[in-house]
Point group: C2
Chain length 284, copies 2
């Protein structure tokens, strides 16, 4: 495994793969890797000849009052996890390499940035779309892998990739969970034992709604009500919405197309998100 | 020469060049080609193995009250000019191919879009940056050629290319002029004979200032005053500004770094732009 920190070194590291037309898989991350990330690495290794993981805590996707500075980092651990997982290239640039002086260009998906987290974190998805576009142009992968936990991020990246004609396939992989159901996230590290326990309300609410959906319930208000009993246990619910899984527009009730039930909630001072997708075609 | 109208056909047409690592030069245009465009084709043919010209009147860079619908078009003539000039591939998509339903992602260079034409044509450079980014990803050229007449466009494209890490060299070629000095532009076609004559005031003003600069004058106010006598003959001067040739910020007087003297003016109902670059290092 090779670790590189500059775009030039990354391109050098990929030159041979390019020359021999090897397929390149890419897993962009903010580091502090967990099994969710590693499932993306595994998917990339299954489908591509060369796997690149980027580790970059992207400042432009954090708001001024958000947790950019305290976001958990452990590069030696990440590097070891990547090596053990069979990653070929780790790309770990610093902020100046990604945003040199004079940088001022941004990419946005205008409509997909508006609902859900976009309404609560102004500029967040502009930062995401911009850094992912940049990383895509640096790595020039054939396939890029993202986690479904970040559903709106997946939608924005998919849209941006299509709209800007980037010749890259976007694959969203299922959310990986702790044994008790909590969606894996680097931010889980912030939770105290008590908070860790209260955080379970999120996945429990989602699963309760999903069970009812599987039993045949299609009315959004009923499914929401079932989940709400669990969501009462978080400290502050930001949203719990059924949206069309593709457009992220409010889902119509009764559900007749694939919908995502998306939640954002604070547990203590930690903001967590999660979702489940309910597809009427395969359900019931 | 091959003419293609879809992204898929374009990629097919370029597949062989890509396979044998031939260099690809790209000249994006809005058609109604003139000698300015053909000088870009010639530059591309000199430096690259394969030359692609796109012909697309991009709707997103026109304001609602601008001339998108009447912008001059003559595809058969353009195609013949391209063939005669030795172009390998003409890419002439329709608007739906470039902007399919659901399209909503945009690229912008925040600061460079603000001055000069950007202040008068809101959204214009966002449309330019977006379509050029898209075309770059469709063609994936090694070098792209633009005319210096569209100085702010060159600056925005250069910035966007650098900021989004597109591995493409941007080359700006000198403005090609009619024998009497008028900068070539597809919009010159709009001018009546009387307007065509009055339009000369623009290049005459710029040349008068340039002559004085060559004679040693460095004070912006003096150079501007000399040009103003000519600019009085246009119907409406929108701006005549000295800006830093790289950042487009107002140039400091006396000039000590390369500056662009940029003009936008209406002659009749036709909006024309032009500029000259004055470089203190080589001047005087």
């Amino acid at each position: 495994m090779q670790t590189v920190t500059t775009v030039a070194a990354l391109r050098d590291a990929l030159a041979e793969a390019r020359k021999f037309n090897r397929s390149v898989g890419f897993v962009p991350t903010m580091g502090f890797l967990h099994e969710g990330h590693l499932s993306l690495v595994e998917a990339s290794r299954t489908r591509c000849d060369v796997t690149v993981v980027s580790i970059f805590v992207n400042p432009t996707q954090f708001g001024p009052k958000e947790d950019h500075n305290i976001y958990p980092r452990d590069f030696p651990r990440d590097e070891k996890l990547c090596r053990d997982a069979g990653v070929d290239i780790v790309f770990a640039p610093d902020a100046d390499e990604v945003y040199p002086p004079g940088f001022e260009s941004f990419v946005e998906a205008v409509e997909l940035e508006k609902p859900l987290c976009g309404a609560l974190r102004p500029g967040h998805f502009r930062g995401v779309a911009t850094v992912v576009c940049k990383l895509f142009n640096m790595v020039q992968p054939h396939i890029a892998f993202f986690g479904q936990k970040d559903l709106q991020q997946c939608a924005v990246v998919r849209r941006m990739t299509l709209d800007l004609n980037l010749p890259i396939e976007i694959v969203a992989m299922p959310t990986v969970r702790e044994q008790d159901g909590l969606a894996m996230s680097s931010r889980n590290r912030y939770l105290s034992p008590g908070e860790r326990w209260r955080a379970l309300a999120i996945s429990r609410g989602l699963f309760a709604a999903e069970a009812e959906f599987r039993a045949g319930e299609r009315r959004v208000e009923k499914l929401s009500a079932i989940a709400s009993r669990h969501f009462e246990n978080v400290d502050r619910l930001q949203y719990a919405e059924f949206v069309d899984a593709g457009t992220l527009r409010p889902a119509t009730s009764p559900l007749s197309r694939p919908a995502a039930f998306c939640v954002a909630a604070y547990v203590g001072s930690t903001r967590l998100i999660d979702n489940v997708i309910m597809s009427p075609d395969v359900g019931a």
